[in-house]
């Protein structure tokens, strides 16, 4: 299991760079994870990250696109503008949550 230093904090990740232990996450770690994706976090990004955080705490799964649209009130177009090439995967990683499982 790789360990790396992000924003001065050692964090454990899986092979794809998702945090294994969310207690190692904080807002600076999020910014560092975002930087790895070439993203500078703005209020728009935080609206998405905060929704994923709240929803994960409620349901223990990373919300899918439709849930972000319908429950989070965040249109797909905005998500692609904020997190290009795979918004859910990127936003999940920056939020410190596991890679979303695509259903069978």
């Amino acid at each position: 299991m790789p360990t790396k230093i992000l924003a001065g904090t050692p964090v454990d990740t899986d092979d794809e760079g998702y945090l294994v232990n969310r207690s190692q996450w904080n807002k600076d770690v999020a910014a560092a994870l975002a930087a790895e994706e070439g993203i500078t976090l703005t209020d728009g990004h935080w609206r998405v990250l905060d929704f994923i955080d709240a929803d994960f705490k409620e349901r223990s799964v990373v919300p899918g696109m439709r849930r972000l649209n319908k429950v989070g009130n965040i249109p797909t177009k905005d998500l692609y503008a904020l997190f290009p090439d795979g918004p859910i995967k990127k936003a999940a990683r920056i939020s410190g949550y596991p890679k979303p499982v695509s259903c069978v």
Binding site: M65, R66, N69, D85, G86, C103, V104
Partner: protein
């Protein structure tokens, strides 16, 4: 008299009606079944219609022949479930009170969820094969196919029978060869997933097969709209895939009745305990088949395995006992690969599809995750099994609801993890 009410007379609802009618005393329990369709469809057969392998009559039977005896059957739509009052309302205002409710209303393709999909080109150059009408229209379209760019496409996951789009692609490849049109046809497979299938071992094998058959794959494609004028599908990040014929799998939504009843999630799937199949919100409501949000395939085999578990759990529930039977996510899927051959997958919540033999270790006779003629014959024989064994609620010999690890070649790393 008490009432057990089943909504939906598809695969799951019909099996439940059959098995419970044999288990619940007739003098104590009425079993009511409601469905809006006059006919029952063998849905796995839709895949074969466009290639002339099955006709309309192979896949359709009137409900009068599939609804079991001793069932109070009504052909009607459902307006909503009032779960607090233990009642179901029909659109004409009829109320059906229930003691136990089983929701088996399935999923349906919802092309209107994608901008521009239902437009002037719908059922002309933009098709789906997950409905009887869709399979019929596509059959007609293929009759006049002269070559060009055939795009097989999945809008988003989850979908019913997630291997069907691959099967369609393989069957199209074989059919085009027979018609002498393969050299004139470019086949493109477009998926929102990162590979051909969700599970790594199967995905690797199926990707190689696509490659061998000269089918190009566009992965991680999240559709934003269909541009009918350009004849292209366009992704949210503005990638375009042009088509002459688009065969798409639209988003799969649960019944609108679920939404009207306030029982569903954002896709109108009912949040369900994945082991007991009890509705999370109401103890006397149970959910089976495609209507659940369980993280396994939406497939007839799953509905069949779930039915064994649910029958036991409903008997436990009625007797006031804990729900002891547990569903493991078992799915068993044939994948037609063309030219009279097929693959077989057997998996559950925890075990991804791997190679091996089925149902018996070493003896098989069927081979898992490998192409064989016997697998294909198994798939073809299944239509008879469906009408004559599955729907009447008889068990299938050697294949139980609990997935067996015997005969499976499980990578040592995973076995260790499982232990």
């Amino acid at each position: 008299m008490k009432t057990l009410l089943i909504l939906g007379a598809g695969t799951a609802g019909t099996i439940m009606a059959s098995t419970l009618r044999n288990k619940l005393p007739k003098g104590e329990w009425t079993i009511a079944l409601v469905d809006r369709a006059p006919d029952h469809y063998y849905q796995p057969g839709y895949l074969f219609m466009p290639f002339g392998i099955y006709t309309e009559n192979d896949v359709r039977r009137p409900m009068t022949r599939t609804v079991p005896r001793g069932i109070d059957y009504r052909e009607a739509d459902v307006d909503r479930v009032d779960a607090a009052a233990n009642r179901v309302f029909l659109p004409d205002g009829t109320e059906i009170p229930y003691d136990v409710l089983i929701i088996a209303t399935g999923v349906h393709p919802a092309p209107e969820q994608v901008e521009g999909m239902v437009n002037g080109d719908w059922r002309k150059n933009v098709h789906e094969f997950y409905t009887f009408e869709g399979a019929k229209a596509l059959t007609e379209r293929l009759k006049s196919w002269q070559g060009g760019r055939l795009v097989v496409h999945i809008c988003e996951m989850p979908i019913k029978c997630p291997v069907a789009p691959l099967e369609f692609t393989f069957l199209a490849d074989a059919w085009l060869q027979e018609k002498g049109l393969r050299e004139k046809t470019e086949i493109v497979y477009v998926t929102p997933m990162s590979g051909a299938f969700t599970k790594p071992v199967a995905s690797g094998i199926l990707t190689r097969l696509l490659d061998e058959k000269r089918i190009s794959v566009v992965h991680d494609f999240a559709i934003a709209r269909v541009d009918a004028e350009k004849k292209a599908i366009v992704s949210w990040d503005e990638k375009e895939v042009p088509y002459d014929l688009l065969v798409t799998v639209p988003p799969n939504m649960g019944a609108e009745m679920i939404d009207r009843s306030g029982l569903g999630d954002e896709l109108n799937y009912v949040p369900t305990d994945k082991h007991t199949l009890q509705c999370k919100a109401h103890a006397n409501i149970f959910v089976i088949g495609d209507a659940t949000d369980c993280p396994t395939s939406k497939a007839g085999s799953v509905a069949h395995f779930e039915a064994e578990v649910l029958t036991e759990n409903i008997l436990h529930f009625i007797a006031g006992q804990p729900l002891r039977s547990r569903f493991d996510g078992h799915a068993n899927c044939f994948i037609e690969s063309g030219h009279g051959k097929a693959f077989l997958l057997d998996f559950n919540y925890d075990q991804e599809p791997v190679t091996g033999t089925f149902p018996l270790p070493a003896l098989g006779p069927m081979r898992l995750l490998a192409e064989s003629r016997l697998n294909h014959l198994g798939k073809m024989a299944f239509r008879w099994v469906y009408w004559n064994i599955l729907l009447p609620g008889w068990p299938i010999p050697l294949v139980g609801h609990k997935m067996s690890l015997r005969g499976k070649n499980i990578p040592p790393k995973e076995l260790k993890a499982a232990a």
